[in-house]
Symmetry: C2
Subunit: 410 residues, 2 copies
Amino acid sequence: MTENAAQNDPPTTHVLPRGIRFAGAVGGIKASGKPDVSLIVTDRPAVIAGVYTTNQIVAAPVVLTRSKTPTATGRVVLTNSGNANACTGEEGMCNAKAMCEQAAELTGCDAADVMVMSTGVIGQPLPMEKVRAGIESAAGKLGVAESDFLASADAICTTDQFRKTVSQTVSIRGQEFRIAAKCKGAGMIAPNMATMLGVLMTDAPIGPQTAQDSLREIAGQTFNRVSVDGHTSTNDTVMLVCTGLSESKDSQELTKDELAVWQEAATQVALKLAKMLVADGEGAARFFEVRVSGASNDEDAFVIAKTVAASPLVKTAITGGDPNWGRIVSAAGYAGPKIQPERTSLVIDGVTVFQNGTPLPIDAAKLSEKMKSNNEVLVDLKVGDGHGNASFWASDLTEAYVRFNSLYTT
Amino acid sequence: MTENAAQNDPPTTHVLPRGIRFAGAVGGIKASGKPDVSLIVTDRPAVIAGVYTTNQIVAAPVVLTRSKTPTATGRVVLTNSGNANACTGEEGMCNAKAMCEQAAELTGCDAADVMVMSTGVIGQPLPMEKVRAGIESAAGKLGVAESDFLASADAICTTDQFRKTVSQTVSIRGQEFRIAAKCKGAGMIAPNMATMLGVLMTDAPIGPQTAQDSLREIAGQTFNRVSVDGHTSTNDTVMLVCTGLSESKDSQELTKDELAVWQEAATQVALKLAKMLVADGEGAARFFEVRVSGASNDEDAFVIAKTVAASPLVKTAITGGDPNWGRIVSAAGYAGPKIQPERTSLVIDGVTVFQNGTPLPIDAAKLSEKMKSNNEVLVDLKVGDGHGNASFWASDLTEAYVRFNSLYTT
């Protein structure tokens, strides 16, 4: 497998799935003049699946796109940044539909086969003239070069500090299948709230319901296990596009075993993106993994890991490089799922600080230095004798986070 | 009713329940030399009830005291600050029992009738020599003067910035019953975690099970509705002491209707203390009330109010005086309980900013000024047509909070 992460320096080359054209363009939705319309167009009808925010307040494009997936006849994923088209009433739905219709016309497909996503400020009507200009411009630029892919990735960003793309190849039944993916950050809150958008693309042949189930599992293991501040936005969406147009022209769907291999690779791609989201969290100085073992089951382990990762006291301890076992262990204690206090142990960056319910004498200064020298701190928490395991990734909580998010100039 | 809140200036006079002596003393547990042992001793066997942390990691004094309440023969509430006696294994339980035995001997009662609470650093054995000296000193100072009550309140504080006491009288069946209460803060985290301790005292005649049920309801309406950072400590405890020794010597227990009157007064006392906890939250600049109405039921309203109040994005918006309806409404949307987005409206400090699912044009600068000029911001959120209501009080999230909690010097 070849791995390419866009945030690495020097830039690496992405291996792009066959059968997809990309474009990014400037419509003028963003006052900055940065790219704000992205198009992904498949050469032939493709399988497209989607998972969406669980927030009950949802933006119009989520409602519209959610009603179309999974589909076996998808052709376009259209995204605008700079305006989330959320909380704008009926006008929002009209605009979302109009975007699909324009993209369909320009790419020669049906509006039903266009998926639309939006991200940016909420509560303001889309500036449709600018949106239309952006879609028209993007449709005129579609291409298969890496620069086209990167342009499409740039055009979905809002206040991200760096572009987030990953690609990978995976060998199945003697063929090379490709996976490429882009996403934009949830750590960026200004001016109103965060949105996480992601698109996974592959040339592997996968059926619509299989793609939907697989995407749900992939997201559950990756995007649903990262957190900057725990806020679920009105627009969060992850899409999976499967063209089935690999080198061999063998379009027979992956078997269950073959799918497992593909899904493992796709999960690694998504996990890399998810970690980039956390690393790009607003004001984040350091990020950390909470690994929970010994819970009654995986779901319990997940809840405990998430609770520990969300605790402001744990986050600030990570910020300060403080091996504060008390905050971590007590967060596990109030998470909800049953734990065994007398069988609870904690290892921070390889050093056991708490064992079977009792703190151990440690060289705290040395461990603190170690934590501070790492960009990623590993919190390894055993909560009993069970077989439940889970990991969760989060950013720390810094003064910069508070400064950015409390800044308000009228 | 007479109300006295210790944080008011000038200092007011507390009306203390009959039949209780108080003391605070220095044992030397705190390196600062500040008072660290508090005694509350009833003249005769009293009803004592307790509610405790729901954390699964609990300190030895919680385990011990929890096993004794509710009781009709309680005599002493003994508290030490400076050391939480938590996560110290079997030695912790031995020490907690030894504290009870010493207090029993000095006050002439049975160890079973002594309740013990501890707060301070966790994971370190109690310095028993100092604890013993403190208990002995406190036992020699017991008195009924207001200064004794205040000394007992001071001695339970850890990093509180101000003492938290309230008293009130309530007239029932032609008699004056007294309620006095003290607590210490949950917003103070250093060096390891926060603990909230509280003691409500009254001379009203209330039976043990009634006292227990009533205390649970009171805490549910007050201490369980405030949050600084959402962390539930290993030691959180609220006790209720009822001497039944009011002016009339009429020791007949309050009837159900009479109890309701008493409980309403006691709830007001507890609510004042709870708000003081929030106002004293570490690094807190401003505090806010989230009032939710229109939910399916009160429990749903509570979950929504708590979720909105806990959101770092909402907290930082309050810090910045930002009337950010998007953060508030979307937090309600991901809280879990069913809401009606198209029937959701939001009023901030009297100004309607969001109505039936759509933002309203407002003078944001003016509202921001209003928010900034208030010490307490009111967030009034209607989530539908239901009859469920709840309030939750919280502190904002400031750079100072992060600074204090990430500071770690080895």
